[in-house]
Amino acid sequence: MHDTTTAARGAEHGADRPHEPLSYRFLLLVWLGLMCLTATTVAVSRIELGALNIVAALGLAGAKASLVIFFFMHLKYENWIIKGMVFMAFVVLAIAIGLTFVDVGYRY
């Protein structure tokens, strides 16, 4: 290992395994899925569900974000460490939103 330079050290770890490009057909399907979910979001917001409105909105938003991140941003084909880091961001977001509801949920 004595001749590896800093640059080589980076490259060594960064060996990306290339994957087959996704077909247009598939990407189009994902896009259609996103459109459907958006329509659902709008539709659900017009029904009075009380606190469930928030749950539905966040759930749908989470589903849409997952589609974008997994397929458009290729997270599905990355290794576990990248997945873990993205997952961590979502956990932090969930905690932030959850703790905010300790206020909002009990305010009145």
Binding site: T5, A7, R9, I95, A96, V102, R107
Partner: protein, 540 residues
């Protein structure tokens, strides 16, 4: 000393390498040059904000309508806060000394993404320019305070829109620095540099990097939301349009509380480097110091609503966030006890870097303990939005991060510039700064307990004596700062040539030539035990 050698392993990193003068700096991808660029601008902005702070204190020396108009006063405390928080303290140690020493500490020749590093500096410059624009155009500088609280920030006619965009851009600069550091620590460690051999400065920057990456986007979103509220009148925060002003406070503090850990963790890392070197003893409780950095980063992200106890938030939330705030005190205290235990029975030499570090411990402890008064919901009701908060914050951030930054400057100065400053002057500047800080800020604790509200232009006669003392303190502090910067400048220009390892540090940067060469390591250096001083001695 003449440096004629063209070998990048010999030539100092700041010596011209042939092509382009200015361009070889501002477009440099060398982490050391970028670190110095940051240091220069940060210190420039620091001086500007110090002058604004002195002006505020000068106005407050006497009650009544003197020196500044109320509108000017509001604008100046806003600018003082915005500049200090977003342009000085947040980038301070990571962007300057972190950039220079994080790669060297782990045996790498640069960060993972050198160009991104340069780009983040340019984003920083863009943020500065936007902030300048917000001061001199439109209806004048923002007058909201650095917190941009709604609904006032939505309705004021001053230039808030551009200022929040400046904050947005500065946030991006911070995110990129954090991202770069995380990746660098994961991927560029020299073989044998295991996680438990990382210098504690690296651990603290790693924890900071995670906060920068995870929390700063929320600041960006919040800034954009304020902007869209002002421009599009969406009605998110404005109760007049069905919005919720508390939502703004949540969003703002979800970033801005963790941001105080972006400010303090790197300083704690510096202190963890300096204390063992000047005590000639391995650091006490390495694992706990490293772990407490991560614990602070995590637990510190869960306490933001302690800024909102009097805002009308639900009582359940008050209870929960007060409890969580007490939890964060634990890892902070772990660090303080570990530093003191490191010094216990050590062979201590009171050189300037250690003095500033001890100043850090003193001021941080006062600031931290008074933070518990604020974190405990019952007492906070009485001192919320008083000078008590201002005193607490300045003890932690100026007494803590500020002195930590000065400690770093005195510690790494010989390694970066290749010369040594005058120790007697450094000694005096330290004591004058410490005295000035305490005369300036301690009366604010007392005034706060007596009920003096923060950000007020005028005050009742009963506060006049302590307001006067506090202003004297600001002058003492200014003298100390001038003496310190003058001493460092003189050292940089005319000081005696520094040796390779003047303090006897065991981390990798001290194995390199002084001043730092353009190209640090030949191949991969052997990972040292960072706090083992057997056979490592000061050579100065």
């Amino acid at each position: 000393m003449e440096h004629t050698a063209q070998d990048p392993h010999e030539r100092p990193f700041f010596a011209p390498s042939g092509k382009g003068g200015l361009a070889s700096w501002i477009f440099s991808t060398d982490h050391k040059r970028i670190g110095l660029l940051y240091l220069g601008l940060i210190m420039l902005m620091f001086s500007v904000a110090v002058v604004l702070g002195l002006l505020l204190r000068l106005k407050l020396m006497t009650p009544g309508n003197t020196l500044l108009t109320p509108q000017q006063y509001n604008a100046i405390f806003t600018l003082h806060g915005v500049i200090m928080v977003f342009m000085v303290v947040i980038p301070s140690i990571p962007a300057s000394f972190g950039n220079i020493f994080l790669p060297l500490h782990i045996g790498a020749n640069d960060v993972s993404f050198p160009r991104l590093n340069n780009f983040s500096w340019w984003l920083y410059v863009t943020g500065l320019v936007l902030a300048l624009v917000s001061i001199f155009t439109g209806n004048g500088p923002p007058d909201t305070g650095w917190t941009f609280y709604v609904p006032f920030s939505e309705h004021t006619t001053t230039n808030v829109s551009i200022a929040v965009i400046a904050v947005f851009v500065l946030g991006f600069s911070s995110i990129l620095t954090g991202l770069n550091f995380i990746t660098t620590v994961h991927r560029l460690r020299t073989p044998g540099m295991t996680w438990r051999k990382l210098p504690l400065f690296v651990w603290s920057l790693y924890a900071t990097g995670w906060i920068q990456v995870l929390a700063t986007p929320i600041l960006g979103i919040t800034a954009l939301l304020i902007f869209s509220e002002r421009v599009l009148h969406l009605g998110l925060f404005d109760p007049g349009r069905g919005g919720d002003p508390l939502l703004y406070q949540h969003l703002f503090w979800i970033y801005s509380h963790p941001a105080v850990y972006i400010m303090i963790l790197p300083a704690m890392g510096v202190i963890s480097e300096i204390i063992p070197v000047f005590s000639r003893k391995p650091v006490f409780g390495y694992n706990m110091i490293a772990f407490s950095s991560l614990a602070i980063a995590f637990a510190g992200s869960l306490v933001w609503a302690h800024h909102m106890f009097t805002s009308g938030m639900s009582d359940n939330a008050v209870l929960l966030f007060s409890f969580l705030t007490f939890v964060v005190a634990i890892p902070s205290a772990i660090k303080v006890f570990n530093w003191l235990s490191t010094m216990y029975k050590g062979s201590i030499s009171l050189d300037p870097p250690l003095l500033f570090s001890l100043g850090f411990i003193l001021m941080f402890s006062i600031g931290g303990l008074t933070g518990l008064v604020l974190g405990s919901a019952g007492t906070d009701i009485h001192v919320h939005d008083t000078y008590f908060v201002v005193a607490h914050f300045h003890y932690v951030i100026f007494g803590g991060t500020g002195l930590g930054m000065f400690a770093a400057m005195h510690y790494w100065f010989p390694k970066v510039f290749g010369r040594m400053y005058d120790h007697t002057r450094a000694f005096w500047s330290f004591w004058i700064i410490l005295l000035g800080m305490n005369v300036l800020y301690f009366p604010m604790f007392v005034m706060g307990l007596q009920g003096m509200p923060r950000r007020y232009y005028d005050y009742l006669p009963q506060y006049a004596p302590l307001q006067m003392v506090s202003t004297w303190g600001s002058w003492i502090l200014a003298v100390g700062l001038i003496l310190m910067f003058h001493n460092l400048y003189r050292g940089c220009r005319y000081g005696p040539v520094a040796t390779k390892n003047p303090w006897g540090g065991a981390t990798l940067e001290w194995t390199l030539p002084t001043p730092l060469p353009a190209e640090a390591f030949y191949g991969d250096p052997v990972a040292p035990e960072p706090y083992d001083y057997k056979g490592v001695n000061p050579d100065g």
